[in-house]
């Protein structure tokens, strides 16, 4: 790759101070560091550093999202043809399904990345920072939580809102307190409810005769149990957001995140425990059918699994202390099920639960750290007393 290096070395002076395009420095830097890990060496502190950097960290999360994306893409095609011909089996017309899905999903991904990255580059340039890799993940998360029929201009608007208001106004990646991808979804949910709820948006170009209600919506209007079986829902063969339907695909991603050490197993596990606790509590005291479903149905309904694995674990917006992570996760699980079952206005409790706990995460951390401070102060006091 010597020639590419040479090309970059030749171009580089143009983008540095005194060159022709110093205002494009961040952009050049982003492409250069994409092609080559820089040759910077350690100048103070430890003389060697871990081979893992932010680019690879974010890439790992994107890899973890791949099973959900691939399954989701296929499922969109299948759900579309299934609504036209309800006797269609899952693997019938494999390539048709897949192609249909790609045609639907790819534009959404492209719009999300183009809009988001443009804004990121712009802000980096303006602040004279390096371009941060955070949006690589956000840009993939946004399409995965969208319904397949969402208009592209709405994706663009939601992405722009999420990046500017959710992230950049606070200083960019690492400084935001709300999960940008969820913020994009919440924005659409409240600004354009007709594209984000109801029975018509969850199957791409659904045949009119077909009901199209997601299992979550069926539960909402008082079904005993969803019409899809537990295993169908677990596998993800149901209408829904692009990447959220298949628990299997999401769990594959979860395993990948935990093995590589990038995702927090504490948060994932505690969200599930929280959901189970609330589900069981409803089983004990509830009076309508929704309260009586087995707690593990909550895991496979709607965005619970996706939220637990990919949204709640965002390290920037989650609680930062280990104890805090347990509390944060538990409360997300509890709130998600609570909102779902009790509040009929919001079928998707997971999104709201995570955003709510994003807001409370710093407070949780504050009390966890405060306990540590108090312990220390107590030790000082005892010690001081002895001396006197």
């Amino acid at each position: 790759m010597k020639w590419l290096r040479d090309v970059l070395d030749n171009l580089k002076p143009n983008f540095e101070k005194g060159g022709k395009f110093p205002w494009l420095h961040s952009t050049f830097d982003a492409f250069e560091t994409f092609a080559f890990v820089p040759k910077t060496t350690t100048s103070c502190g430890a003389h060697f550093r871990d081979a893992l950097d932010m680019k690879r960290t974010m890439t790992m999360v994107i890899l973890a999202l791949m099973p959900a994306l691939l399954f989701g893409t296929y499922n969109i095609g299948y759900q579309h043809f299934h609504s036209i011909n309800p006797s269609l089996a899952f693997f019938d017309g494999f390539w048709d399904n897949l192609w249909y899905g790609i045609v639907k999903v790819l534009p959404i991904i492209v719009v999300s990345y183009v809009v988001g990255l443009s804004i990121e580059f712009g802000f980096a340039q303006w602040r004279k920072h390096e371009v941060n890799e955070g949006f690589l993940v956000t840009g993939m998360l946004i399409p995965l939580v969208m319904p397949p029929d969402v208009p592209l201009w709405q994706v663009a608007l939601a992405t722009a809102f999420a990046v500017v208001i959710g992230k950049e106004v606070f200083g960019g990646t690492g400084m935001n307190f709300l999960n940008p991808a969820l913020l994009a979804r919440a924005f659409l949910f409240f600004a354009f409810p007709s594209s984000m709820s109801g029975d018509n948006v969850w199957i791409a170009q659904k045949a009119d005769a077909f009901s199209g209600a997601t299992p979550l919506a069926e539960m909402m209007i008082g079904a005993e149990l969803p019409s899809a079986s537990f295993w169908d829902m677990f596998l993800g063969i149901m209408p829904g957001s692009i990447g959220e339907t298949s628990s299997v695909a999401i769990l594959l991603g979860a395993a990948f995140l935990i093995i590589t050490g990038i995702g927090s197993w504490r948060i994932m596990l505690s969200v599930f425990i929280g959901g189970a606790l609330m589900g069981l509590t409803f089983n004990l005291f509830g009076s309508n059918p929704y309260t009586q479903i087995p707690f593990y149905y909550h895991y496979v309904l709607g965005g619970f699994m996706f939220g637990a694995v990919f949204m709640a674990t965002d390290p920037v917006t989650a609680a930062q202390t280990n104890k805090g992570k347990w509390i944060y996760g538990l409360l997300i699980g509890v709130m998600a099920v609570l909102i779902r079952v009790v509040n009929p206005a919001y079928p998707e409790g997971m999104m709201l639960a995570i955003l709510l706990l994003n807001v409370f995460a710093p407070l949780i951390d504050y009390y966890v750290v405060d306990a540590n401070i108090r312990k220390r102060m107590k030790r000082w006091k005892i010690k001081g007393g002895k001396n006197v």
Partner: protein, 457 residues
């Protein structure tokens, strides 16, 4: 009574090129004292270029406390006084002469001296500077009173020298050193040894100290970790600590009346042809050790100390005052095409995102030493990942919060979060595994300096 203490968290870094267990003698005629080895010391020169100095003759004193003298470890001529930024004295270089003469410190016997006389003797000879104090890792004020003293007799870092070898045949010196310390500081004296590797009778048979066997991964050898397990720090507490080889130098002086700052150091690293131990005098030039002994095809980094906390020096540089290890590794000034997505069979990483993270799990390749270089492996970013520092910091401290408190310079918050219990070196592993490539050690060091100035110490 021997106590065993197990520390659970940590991370051992096993690197290629550990020193073989043989000690070589080598002729060295160039020496230097580096004031920057002594944190917080503002040097005031007492010699000039061209002066002849004897062993034990003071070269400079600390402006903050003129009683603290820094003496020459060799007899010879002051060859050069190297000054750096703002004319700060970086090195006082001395060319050793053939015949070594010593300053005479008169007749004395430890038994007949009181505390003040011993302290005065240590200050006069410059041996006082071998002691250090927590918090701040500075030379203790002779008027201060520690709550305990820690003698460190092992290291857990990368390329850690074997203290069994370092202390060979020095039992009497060390025992005398302990008596001196006990006279100077009326408090408990801990001798901290490695639960796994320390076997030398020179260490384990020492009297009058509490021997603690520490078991665990790096940073179990760090003083802060040991203090946290033995007697946690409170505000206003002081703990003194001294390396066992330095203690032997102190003991030797009280036995023989002569200053012999000789010690054994390890030369290690992937780029050293014959990694082994050398018997040298404090402040020795490393050039004779490394000249024909390193791979010259690569750009190299010479480090006085270990690769986690040591100082970068030139090939003709001098070993630091408190160091007993020279590490030599490759410089990493190369571009790596799409390195951030490479499978990485041979990369060093704490995480399992590279294939190397899995090959190490296979039974036949377990604990295979890895090779490292000085490349940053990525650009600096905002702090994003959480919960990682905690895995390698065995202290009851919230590292992320403390780092942020140091960045904003909030003294109250730093105190509350336990700044007195740590030193920069404790955060070395955090710095290594940090995905955002933050220079954490210097952040903590600056925090400590800020608070030290505020406290007027």
């Amino acid at each position: 009574m021997v106590k065993t203490i197990t520390v659970r968290k940590g991370f051992d870094i096993k690197l290629k090129g550990e020193a073989k267990k043989r000690v070589m003698d080598v002729e060295i005629d160039s020496y230097a004292v580096k004031p920057s080895d002594y944190l917080g010391v503002n040097p005031k020169l007492m010699v000039q270029k061209g002066d002849m100095v004897k062993v034990g003759q003071p070269l400079f004193y600390a402006k903050e406390n003129p009683r603290i003298l820094f003496t020459s470890s060799v007899c010879g001529q002051v060859q050069e006084i190297v000054r750096g930024e703002k004319r700060f004295i970086e090195e006082i270089q001395i060319k050793a002469s053939k015949v070594q003469e010593s300053v005479s410190f008169g007749e004395f016997a430890l038994d007949l001296m009181d505390k003040e006389q011993v302290i005065e003797k240590l200050l006069q000879t410059g041996l006082w500077t071998l002691l250090r104090q927590r918090p701040y890792a500075v030379i203790p004020n002779p008027e201060s009173c520690p709550k305990c003293v820690i003698i460190t007799a092992f290291s857990s870092s990368a390329y850690a020298p074997d203290y069994n070898l370092l202390t060979q045949g020095r039992e009497k010196d060390i025992q005398m050193g302990i008596e001196v310390i006990k006279k100077v500081a009326n408090c408990k004296v801990h001798l901290n040894v490695c639960g796994k590797n320390t076997t030398a009778p020179e260490i384990l048979n020492l009297k009058g100290v509490q021997i603690n066997r520490f078991v665990g991964k790096h940073p179990v050898g760090n003083v802060s970790v040991q203090i946290s397990r033995l007697d946690p720090m409170c505000k206003g507490d002081r703990v003194w600590y001294v390396d066992i080889q330095d203690l032997a130098i102190i003991g030797r002086f009280f036995l023989s009346g002569r200053i012999e700052k000789d010690k054994i150091i390890a030369l290690a690293g992937s780029e050293v042809k014959n990694p082994q131990y050398y018997r040298v005098r404090m402040g020795a030039c490393i050039f004779p050790l490394v000249n024909d002994n390193v791979n010259s095809q690569n750009f190299l980094r010479f480090i006085s100390g270990d690769v986690l906390t040591g100082k970068s020096i030139a090939k003709t540089g001098y070993i630091g005052a408190y160091d007993n290890l020279i590490s030599v590794i490759k410089e990493g000034n190369y571009y790596e095409f799409l390195g951030w997505i490479a499978p990485g069979l041979k990369k060093f990483s704490f995480y399992r995102t590279f294939l190397s993270g899995f090959t190490n799990l296979l039974p036949f390749s377990r604990r295979k030493p890895v090779e490292i270089d000085t490349n940053m492996h990525g650009g600096k970013r905002a702090l994003v990942l959480t919960g990682e520092y905690e895995k390698v910091l065995p202290l009851d401290i919230y590292p992320m919060q403390l780092i942020k408190a140091c960045i904003i310079g909030d003294i109250d918050l730093m105190e509350q979060l336990g700044i007195y219990e740590v030193d920069a070196e404790d955060f070395a592993l955090c710095e290594v595994i940090d995905v955002s490539k933050t220079d954490i050690q210097s952040i903590i060091r600056n925090g400590l300096e800020l608070i030290r100035k505020e406290m007027g110490e």
